[in-house]
């Protein structure tokens, strides 16, 4: 056997020498035979001829020897490949279109599938994710959504449970990281020491903290890989060094590996943590019973424990905790607990979008395959004659089949190669561009399963439609095929029907996609057109957070902001300056209040509103219109009457036909002892939440009257010119007061709006891209079919022109053919869209899934496209010179 392999290599790599040796051998054999025959008396010429006959012909014998040579299979394969390449190169138009179509289908499909795989399908990046759950508490009166856990309850869950292997709490916050270069705002999570073992993630360098260190006073920090690379240049020497978080020194003890991502979006509001510190519950925190529900809890189920049993267990614990509350609290709070599997929490929101994309990609792939199939069928028809000739000349049927298969294989590989490059490019572009709410964006990479699947699909299409003509020719009578000039009428008809069917399908699919994109587009427009309630142009914002350790006294906090406002107002180019605890379009939460003497809305339980504390000329900076009364001013001091500004919707709801100025309300339920606040102004409604969420009732309070002044404020400045130009001066002003304070989230309000609609815009662009691609491919499909039909009927057209048919009639007839195909496709597509768009419903805003305007517009668009695609080849038909056409076969 090894000798055989040696021969194989020799045959492949020293082919010329091998062939030469064979040639020499055969020639010398002929010499011998000639000599032999000459001995029998024949002349040299005759002897030589006889010798050649006896040998059987030098070339023939060579062929026989080659046929049994080791490596024959590979050689044939290579030869088929080279031949296929040459054949394809001879028809560059077809090859280019086919390869590009394939590349588009494969590339787009692979890219999106890879996203789906990383985000939806692949399990979460922790050990055994199916057994991970989030433990949450619930207070029915405060809302239907479960809430995080309070500190003392964490301990109770940890101690009393019987269903969990491990329970770990975590809580994130924004901290100012200082020490190196500019101070930066980062996310840091306090976590229980057992979190890392719960997730089964070990640090890449250094260590994590022990249970003994999970106590107050241990200022240890573990860095996340990204932060380590970005801020510390990946220097392993950072272990043991100190970094400053909110002015407190922390010792770095470990670095987490690159693939460690915690917490995930959906587990907790906010971003993944850059730094991990020990939870270290303080005694004050542990005494905070029934309040400050701020801690997230992750737990791992014991093997064999069901979700139902876990729920029962923790509900029982919650009940026991409830019994320890004072009786009057018990009725209000009604504490409960619920266990939520991690998987559903993280992925839920994004599922619709990704399924939508999956559908879109699937459609595009189908259309691409249909186009390729169509191309192959056309080509097959052209080549019928060539194949018939080859078969007649004695080529083995298997051989011909193999050659056709090699061509298709080559096409598929070229398309796949290009498609792969395209997929890389798409992913690279997408990742930089995706909104932050798509989980685990970092984990997205090309998925080999998907690639393989797509490749198989394409290969199948190629083989079936490409080899079909060869198979068909097995059955046809060679003679008649050659005589008819290579066109079998019956097969031609079948092909034409098939191609028409393919095109109709393509049109239908692209219509569905275009309708989807159209609906998203209209929703997007509606969102952008929504009255935001303020004027975002020319406004710069930034977020500041004074650390508690440095600013212990309220007067320190007030002094800082007062001084900052004064300095900012002096800056050149600044018109007005203000600050607020909340900017528009961000999150907020409900406060309970009780109006005095006003009309409580019918059937309502609690009166709820959102609330902000504002400083300086915040409302004026945002140009929130003043409808009644006044803005806050110098008169509102800590000692003057506590005042309030309310939003229009709140005023209308509680004091419908009265002047709300002078009316009062207070925080808490009617029996609370909070001071009454007097309304001094009514302003227009502002979208404090996302643009596509309902407007929320809102109240504003002057900073001066806030008992505990907020240490974190958003500064807003209205500029005379370009707001971005104020950024540098803002930083200078802040650092002039406190060099270690991070100036975070410096953005113009326009950018804030843009960011808030970024997810929606992303969905739109993506679907629109697919829809456009589908439409283009479908147009190419129509063009191809009509074009071919015209070419086939050139002969017939020539006769008709010669017999006096008008060009206009011809044009109309050909275009009519195209429109018929399109009409069929549109009808089917509309039916499909009617059925499918309901799945888009939760991505739409103010637009119904069956929006007539969109359907009509898209149908018209496709009709125009089809018209154009038919018109161009139709014109060619009219230009046919009858003399040429009559001679054309």
């Amino acid at each position: 056997m090894p000798k055989r392999i040696l021969s194989l290599f020799r045959n492949l790599f020293r082919k010329r020498a091998v062939e030469q040796a064979l040639d020499d051998e055969l020639r010398s054999s002929v010499e011998f035979l000639t000599q032999e025959k000459m001995k029998h008396g024949l002349s040299q010429a005759v002897a030589r001829r006889e010798a050649l006959i006896e040998l059987g012909g030098i070339e023939q014998v060579k062929e026989e020897v080659r046929a049994v040579r080791a490596g024959r299979f590979l050689e044939d394969f290579a030869r088929d490949g080279r031949f296929a390449f040459r054949t394809l190169a001879k028809s560059p138009g077809f090859t280019t279109v086919a390869v590009l179509t394939l590349a588009l289908g494969i590339g787009a499909n692979t890219a999106i599938f890879s996203v789906m795989d990383a985000v939806v399908l692949r399990p979460l990046p922790y050990k055994d994710p199916a057994s991970l759950i989030m433990v949450k508490e619930s207070i029915p009166l405060a809302g239907p959504e479960p809430i995080p856990v309070c500190a003392p309850d964490v301990i109770q869950f940890q101690r009393q449970n019987q269903v969990f292997e491990a329970v770990a709490a975590f809580r994130g916050g924004q901290f100012d990281l200082a020490g190196v270069d500019e101070p930066e705002r980062i996310t840091a999570d306090r976590v229980n020491a057992n979190l890392f073992s719960l997730l089964d993630m070990q640090p890449m360098l250094g260590r994590t903290f022990t249970t003994e260190e999970d106590q107050p006073g241990h200022s240890l920090a573990i860095l996340n890989y990204a932060l380590w690379q970005r801020r510390f240049g990946g220097d392993p020497g950072v272990i043991g060094r100190t970094l400053t978080l909110d002015r407190q020194p922390y010792t770095v003890i470990g670095i987490m590996p690159r693939n460690f991502v915690f917490p995930l979006e959906g587990m907790e509001q906010g971003h993944t943590a850059d730094v991990f510190a020990p939870m270290g519950f303080t005694p004050e925190e542990l005494a905070d019973v029934g309040d400050n529900f701020n801690y997230s809890v992750l737990a791992r189920l014991k093997p064999g424990v069901t979700l139902g049993r876990a729920n029962a267990d923790i509900s029982a614990i919650a009940y026991r905790i409830l019994q320890t509350y004072p009786p009057q609290f018990r009725d209000r709070i009604k504490l409960g607990a619920v266990a939520l599997p991690l998987n559903t929490k993280v992925v839920g929101k994004v599922k619709t979008l990704l399924l939508l994309l999956l559908g879109a990609v699937g459609f595009v792939l189908l259309i691409a395959c249909a186009n390729v199939a169509s191309l192959l069928l056309t080509r097959a028809a052209h080549r019928q004659r060539e194949i018939a000739v080859r078969l007649a000349l004695g080529a083995g049927r298997l051989r011909v089949l193999r050659q056709l298969a090699a061509e298709n294989l080559l096409l598929a590989l070229a398309g796949a190669g290009l498609g792969l490059l395209l997929a890389f490019a798409i992913l690279r572009g997408m990742v930089g561009w995706m909104p932050a709410n798509i989980p685990r964006v970092n984990a997205i990479g090309i998925n080999s399963t998907v690639l393989a699947f797509t490749l198989v699909l394409v290969l199948l299409t190629g083989l079936v439609f490409g080899v079909e003509p060869a198979l068909a020719s097995w059955r046809t009578d060679l003679q008649s095929t050659l005589k008819e000039g290579g066109r079998s009428a019956q097969q031609g008809l079948r092909h034409r029907r098939l191609r028409s069917a393919l095109v109709v399908g393509e049109v239908a699919l692209s219509l569905v996609l275009l309708v989807g994109a159209g609906l998203l587009l209209r929703s997007f427009e509606r969102v952008l057109a929504t009255e935001a309630g303020f004027q975002p142009d020319h406004v710069l914002t930034a977020s500041l957070s004074l650390p508690e350790t440095q600013y212990k006294q309220p007067q320190q906090i007030r002094a800082f902001y007062r001084e900052l406002m004064a300095r900012l107002e002096q800056l050149p180019g600044v018109m007005t300056v203000g600050a607020s605890t909340d900017l528009p379009l961000q999150a907020g939460w409900n406060h309970i209040f009780s109006p005095e003497g006003g009309q409580p809305p019918p059937g309502a339980g609690l009166n709820l509103c959102w609330h902000s504390v504002i400083l300086g000329d915040y409302l004026q900076t945002m140009r929130v219109p003043l409808l009644r009364g006044r803005y806050f001013n110098q008169q509102d001091t800590p000692t003057s009457t506590p005042v309030l500004i309310v939003s229009e919707s709140l005023a209308k709801r509680y004091w419908p036909n009265q002047d709300p100025i002078g009316k009062r309300l207070k925080w808490g339920p009617p029996e609370s002892n909070d001071p009454w606040l007097t309304i001094v102004g009514v302003v227009g409604d502002v979208k404090q939440g996302p643009l596509d969420a309902p407007t929320v009732q809102h109240t504003y309070e002057p900073y001066a009257q806030d008992i505990v002044p907020a240490s974190a404020l958003n500064v807003a400045m209205r500029a005379a010119g370009d707001p971005a130009s104020l950024a540098a001066s803002l930083r200078v002003a802040v650092w002039g007061l406190d060099r270690q304070l991070a100036v975070a989230q410096v953005r113009t309000m326009d950018e804030v709006i843009s960011e808030s609609v970024a997810p929606r815009r992303f969905n739109l662009y993506l679907l629109a891209a697919f829809a456009a691609l589908a439409a283009v491919l479908a147009a190419i499909g129509i063009y191809g079919v009509i074009s071919y039909s015209v070419a086939q009927r050139t002969h017939e057209i020539g006769i008709r022109v010669a017999l006096g048919a008008r060009r206009g009639d011809l044009l109309r007839q050909v275009v009519g053919q195209g429109l018929l195909l399109m009409a069929a496709g549109v009808v089917i597509g509309v039916l499909g869209a009617l059925a499918l768009t309901r799945f888009l419903a939760n991505l739409l805003y103010e637009i119904k899934p069956i929006d007539p305007a969109t359907f009509i517009a898209v149908s018209l668009l496709l009709a125009t496209v089809a018209l154009l695609a038919s018109y161009i080849p139709a014109r060619r038909a009219t230009k046919v010179d009858p003399m040429v056409a009559l001679r054309y076969e």
Binding site: K3, R4, E25, S29, E36
Partner: protein, 110 residues
């Protein structure tokens, strides 16, 4: 011969070639003549079958070839049986015996 080549025929050809070479090295034509000789003129091996067979056996290492000058002072490619070729000859002879016995028994029975 066409594309088809029966295995039985190829098998017997290999045996004859090995047998022919068992006495002394020969070149292609010479092997053909020797086979005609040892079969007492019954088999005329066509070169279209002989050369593929020879080359296949050479690839397998049963025969070795070298270029030598022949009796006419002409250069020719001479084939020689290798040790594994000798072994193969014995194997083929044994197999052939077995086949002959089986076929004889099968044909004789009614």
């Amino acid at each position: 011969m066409g594309e088809k080549r029966t295995d039985l025929l190829r098998g017997t050809l290999d045996l004859l070639v090995l047998k022919a070479l068992s006495l002394e090295p020969l070149h292609g034509v010479g092997i053909s003549r020797r086979i005609t000789q040892i079969t007492k003129g019954a088999f005329q091996v066509s070169f279209g079958s002989l050369f593929p067979s020879l080359h296949r056996m050479e690839e397998r290492g049963w025969v070795e070839a070298e270029w030598r000058s022949s009796e006419n002072n002409r250069r020719a490619k001479y084939y020689r049986l290798t040790s594994s070729g000798c072994t193969q000859l014995k194997v083929e002879e044994r197999d052939w015996d077995r086949v002959v016995k089986i076929m004889a028994a099968a044909v004789q029975s009614t």
